[in-house]
Amino acid sequence: MKKVFIPLVFFFGLVIFLAIGLNRDPREIPSPLIGKPAPAFNLVTLESDKTFSPEQMLGKVWMFNVWATWCVACREEHPVLVAFAEKNQIPIVGLSYKEIQPQDPAAKQSDAIKLQVARERSAVWLQRHGNPYTTSVMDLDGRVGIQYGVYGVPETYVIDQQGVIRFKHVGAVTPQLLAEKILPLMQGLGKS
């Protein structure tokens, strides 16, 4: 009689295994960058030709948020970030990722014009939706994005005082994620 249950146990084992496997979000790929130093870069900002590099943030816990005006999910998370920036004294640096898309009419222009168009468009967008960023850096060709393993905008990173990436989230940031994960993590890092 006992033997009859052996296949049943196997079957339920398989069901549990598949239930876990199939309910995972295939877009959530563990980032190998967690615990590694944030890749260095040096890019001009949205506001001026003065460059920004992550080194300047050493000693601070900060958030790095990848966004673009063409990105639909960014519009969804944007009010969340604006509210967060108003409430907390945590710097958020934006990475304006590939603002000029290949199919964009401006894509055929020179780099200088592309930068200008991207800045104008981003500034208007931030004016309309609010600006949570202390600064935004212009990654027009997406190279810095590749350094950070960006594959779906928006993406958000938490970087600690030593310049080490502590957290990465792909997709829109939700109030729940901020309250339950990001804020406790950042406060914990801030104390140490």
């Binding site: 790929i29 980032s31 190998p32 590939k98 060709d141 997406g142 190279r143 590749i146 350094q147």
Partner: protein, 149 residues
């Protein structure tokens, strides 16, 4: 005369098309290596496509990145290592064999081995319990009868 006209027009269309076809690559050697490497790399946007066949924008960017790395004389392994360091083991269709990927690599063989052992044990037990059926005298007679008919 009409024929020549049509022929010339046809030629013009042919020329126009030839002019629009974009050049495959500036450097065929680089391109060949790119294809070789990118067939082994998963595109993160369309996860069931390789980097070489994906038409996603990120794939375009990554191909550009790989091209640049090839031009700086990086080995295939170094290029793959770079991509793994940014996007994780997930980008490799054939992930490295290490403790974390043991289940992935050896799991199916372990399952096969377990199934084989199970079957062997089961069949042995069965042979011990199930006795071959021996025909009685009456049954044998009936079989003979049937065969004769």
């Amino acid at each position: 005369m009409k024929c020549i006209c049509v022929f010339l027009m046809g030629l013009c269309i042919g020329l126009a098309n030839a002019g629009e076809a974009s050049p495959m690559a500036e450097d065929p050697v680089v391109e060949a290596r790119l294809v070789h490497i990118s067939q082994e790399i998963r595109c993160l946007v369309c996860q069931n496509e390789s980097l070489s066949s994906s038409r996603a924008e990120l794939a375009d960017d990554l191909r550009r990145e790989v091209r640049d790395l090839i031009r700086t004389n990086k080995s295939d392994q170094e290029i793959k290592d770079f991509l793994v360091s940014r996007y994780g083991d997930f980008v490799l269709y054939r992930p490295e064999v290490k403790p974390l990927t043991w289940v992935l690599w050896f799991g199916p063989f372990v399952a096969l081995l377990m199934a084989a052992i199970f079957m062997w044990v089961y069949l042995r037990q069965r042979r011990a319990t199930v006795k071959p059926h021996v025909l009685s005298e009456a049954e044998r007679a009936r079989v003979e009868q049937l065969l004769k008919d």
